[in-house]
């Protein structure tokens, strides 16, 4: 059972950057908002400690932008959004993902 869980977390980790870009392509979020959305989509092992370094990397790569937005009555919020380069990259990654997924699916089907 541990092996299965480890494998699943490994697979999810490998695709987490693409999932984060996908979420942020829909609407800007702060890092904790990304965690919440990922957990709602079944990434239950994902935590703030995983997402924060990841979005830091994506920002440095120029795929995400971060703006400090006034938070109404509360403190200002760091809000993340996709840059143009981020959109292009997401398109490319999504294409790659579909192709790889298709190849793997074909391979699995052939074994049967």
């Amino acid at each position: 059972m541990t092996v299965i869980v480890d494998r699943e977390s490994l697979l999810m980790r490998g695709t987490l950057d693409m999932c984060v870009l996908t979420l942020l392509s829909r609407h800007p979020l702060h890092a904790y908002g990304v965690v919440q959305h990922l957990q709602e989509h079944g990434f239950t092992q994902t935590s703030y400690g995983t997402v924060y370094p990841l979005v830091s990397r994506l920002r440095r790569q120029g795929l995400l932008a971060q703006d400090l937005q006034p938070g109404g009555s509360g403190p200002a919020r760091n809000v993340l959004s996709l840059t143009d380069e981020g959109r292009l990259t997401l398109r490319e990654w999504t294409k790659q993902w579909r192709e790889v997924n298709e190849r793997i699916s074909q391979l699995i089907e052939e074994r049967r």
Binding site: A31, T50, L54, S56, R60, P75, R77, N78
Partner: protein
């Protein structure tokens, strides 16, 4: 401990890791400010301390630093032996100067020791105090410089122990040199003696840490 305190403690521990990783203060402050702003955003969005600080602090700090493009591969989280020797020798020298003023030229201490103890015991005690101050200065300097290093006390104690061995080894050549120089107190002789003792101590620290490395090679720490 309430949520704010737990989050503040988490930030402190992450910053300590960044210090150990060798991030420059300006860069570190930037990362800390960003992290604090983000944690505040998350908290105002309803996140609890449990949601935010359950990460492994070291892994988190390393990942964020790496994500920001800091080169960490060459840093194994232990002081370089050369830097350790330099720090130790400077601390030891300061300790030795203190022992000169506080012990060897302290006539009140002389009087007290000679009144309370037999002469031989008093002499031994006097030298023990002086050596303790020197080694204490060394250990204190190492602790001060590497205070965020894991097992800093062990590193400081071991370095001081190796220095003591070097000091003992230096006694023979130092006495031989003093005899050869007819026990002169000229500044060139004192300098030569100091260099000789310092070299023995530095060599002993270097050799000691080479014989028993500070951390196991397969367990590098940030």
């Amino acid at each position: 401990m309430n949520d704010d305190n737990r989050i503040a403690e988490f930030v402190d521990r992450v910053e300590e890791c960044w210090i150990r990783l060798g991030l420059r203060p300006t860069e570190r402050r930037r990362l800390v400010n960003e992290l604090v702003t983000d944690l505040t955003s998350a908290k105002s969005a309803g996140a609890t301390a449990d949601d935010l600080v359950r990460a492994d602090v070291v892994a988190f700090a390393v990942e964020v630093a790496a994500a920001e493009g800091h080169q960490l591969a060459s840093r194994q989280g232990r002081p370089a032996v050369g830097a350790l020797i330099g720090t130790g020798v400077i601390g030891g020298a300061l300790g030795a100067i203190s022992s000169w003023y506080l012990v060897y030229t302290n006539y009140a201490l002389y009087k007290l020791l000679w009144q309370v103890f037999p002469e031989l015991v008093a002499v031994v005690l006097l030298h023990v105090m002086a050596v303790t101050l020197g080694l204490g200065g060394m250990a204190a300097a190492i602790w001060l410089r590497y205070r965020y290093q894991p097992r800093v006390i062990s590193i400081a104690v071991r370095t001081a122990a190796w220095a003591a061995v070097g000091g003992l080894v230096s006694l023979g050549p130092a006495i031989a040199l003093a005899t050869h120089m007819n026990y002169r107190w000229d500044s060139d002789v004192v300098l030569l003696e100091t260099v000789l003792v310092g070299a023995c101590i530095a060599a002993a620290i270097g050799l000691g840490h080479r014989l028993r490395p500070l951390t196991r090679a397969n367990h590098p720490r940030p």
